[in-house]
């Protein structure tokens, strides 16, 4: 009986330790080198409707920051549209974030390219301030846990292969 009590006490102690460790790990600040949590945002889409990033938790999200004045953005938009169609079933959401102040030109570009993915209008540049894209276009891959894992600029064929490998890795997680 005494042994059982001792075993029970030891088990309880271990469980408390495990829970405390779990709580500590859950609340510990992210260390250097760990992926940063993607800031949440809600934006209005050019085609109507509002989109909130946190509602896509559990999916991989590809965010492309672009503007109508950026020539290199168009090929990236087309590439992202194709990726979205290919990997939608595997849990990929693709969103464009338009940095134009007025939506007219971006809407025309999206229409000319025949894009069906949501184009979110960041008119106040609040999302751009939160994510700080260094150049346009900037593609961010956000994992299922809501962390920014990869960032790319304009992609050449080699960088595209790497991006595809990274994306497949995220979808497999």
């Amino acid at each position: 009986m005494a042994e059982r009590t001792a075993v029970g006490r030891a088990g309880r102690g271990a469980a408390i330790l495990a829970l405390l460790l779990g709580l500590f790990l859950a609340h510990a600040p992210a260390r250097a080198g760990e992926p940063a949590t993607a800031p949440d945002f809600a934006l209005k889409a050019l085609g109507g409707g509002n989109y909130r990033l946190s509602e896509r938790r559990g999916e991989v999200v590809a965010l492309l920051f672009w503007g109508s004045w950026c020539g290199g953005c168009r090929s990236e938009l087309e590439r992202l549209e194709r990726l979205g169609a290919t990997y939608a079933g595997a849990g990929l959401s693709v969103w464009g974030v338009v940095l134009d102040e007025e939506p007219g030109d971006a809407r025309a570009v999206a229409s000319a390219l025949g894009l069906s993915m949501p184009q979110l209008h960041d008119a106040r540049r609040e999302v751009a301030r939160a994510y700080r894209p260094k150049r346009l276009p900037t593609l961010l891959l956000i994992d299922r846990g809501g962390a920014v894992r990869y960032a790319y600029g304009e992609l050449d064929s080699r960088a595209e292969r790497k991006m595809l490998a990274d994306l497949r890795g995220l979808l497999d997680e």
Binding site: G11, R12, A15, A42, K44, N50, Y51, R52, E55
Partner: protein, 207 residues
């Protein structure tokens, strides 16, 4: 070759002699094999006992129960911490919370709610379709939580969305609130006025 120093002995054994040892089959003492046999017997016995019982032993059951209880305690503790954090950040004597609720939504598709306190914007919240669906199912959303000092304040809410006949719709409602001691709760309620085929926006304080 005589070896005097332990350092030299280590270097010697870890070098040429080690290669020799690795080529030889390892010899285990008899006690080792006895221990392995005893462990196998014990494992077989334990497996048989478990198979007979068909359930984990009572110690494990009680441990599972205790872990479940501990998990619940952690959840409760987390909730208490959350409440404590809110009490610290938004003390009751200055706390003001604004909630949004929706009745049927036949005449109004909610897009966003903008709230101004004393003419200053404190929030502009965009509602996604999922959030609107939750409101239509009876959910209540706390759209703003802030601090206001005691006295009179003007709270204005602008509702933006799609009105009757699919037209863009924007309507404002204002409430004068008298912030005293204790938390103040304000509800922004969107309902349908069937007689006029128009949405209705009510701003009221909770008692």
């Amino acid at each position: 070759m005589a070896i005097d120093s332990p350092g030299i002995a280590h270097a010697y054994l870890s070098g040429r002699d080690r290669g020799y040892r690795e080529r030889q089959p390892a010899r285990r003492p008899a006690a080792f094999w006895l221990a392995v046999a005893a462990a196998c017997l014990l494992a077989l016995g334990a497996t048989a006992a478990l198979a007979e019982e068909g359930a984990p032993p009572p110690d494990f059951q009680s441990l599972d129960g205790e872990i479940g209880a501990l998990k619940q305690e952690v959840v409760d503790l987390n909730r208490d911490l959350f409440l404590l954090e809110e009490e610290l950040l938004f003390p009751a004597n200055t706390q003001v919370a604004v909630f949004v609720s929706m009745d049927v939504g036949t005449f109004f598709g909610l897009d966003s709610v903008q709230i101004l306190v004393d003419g200053k914007e404190v929030t502009n919240y965009l509602y996604t379709q999922r959030e609107v669906d939750a409101l239509l199912r009876g959910g209540v959303h706390r759209v703003w939580l802030g601090n206001l000092k005691a006295g009179k304040h003007e709270l204005t809410a602008f509702f933006t969305g799609v009105g009757p006949h699919g037209r863009d719709y924007r309507r404002g409602a204002t409430l004068e609130i008298d912030k005293g001691v204790g938390a103040k709760y304000v509800e922004l309620r969107i309902s349908d006025r069937v007689q006029k085929l128009q949405p209705e926006f009510l701003v009221r304080e909770w008692d």
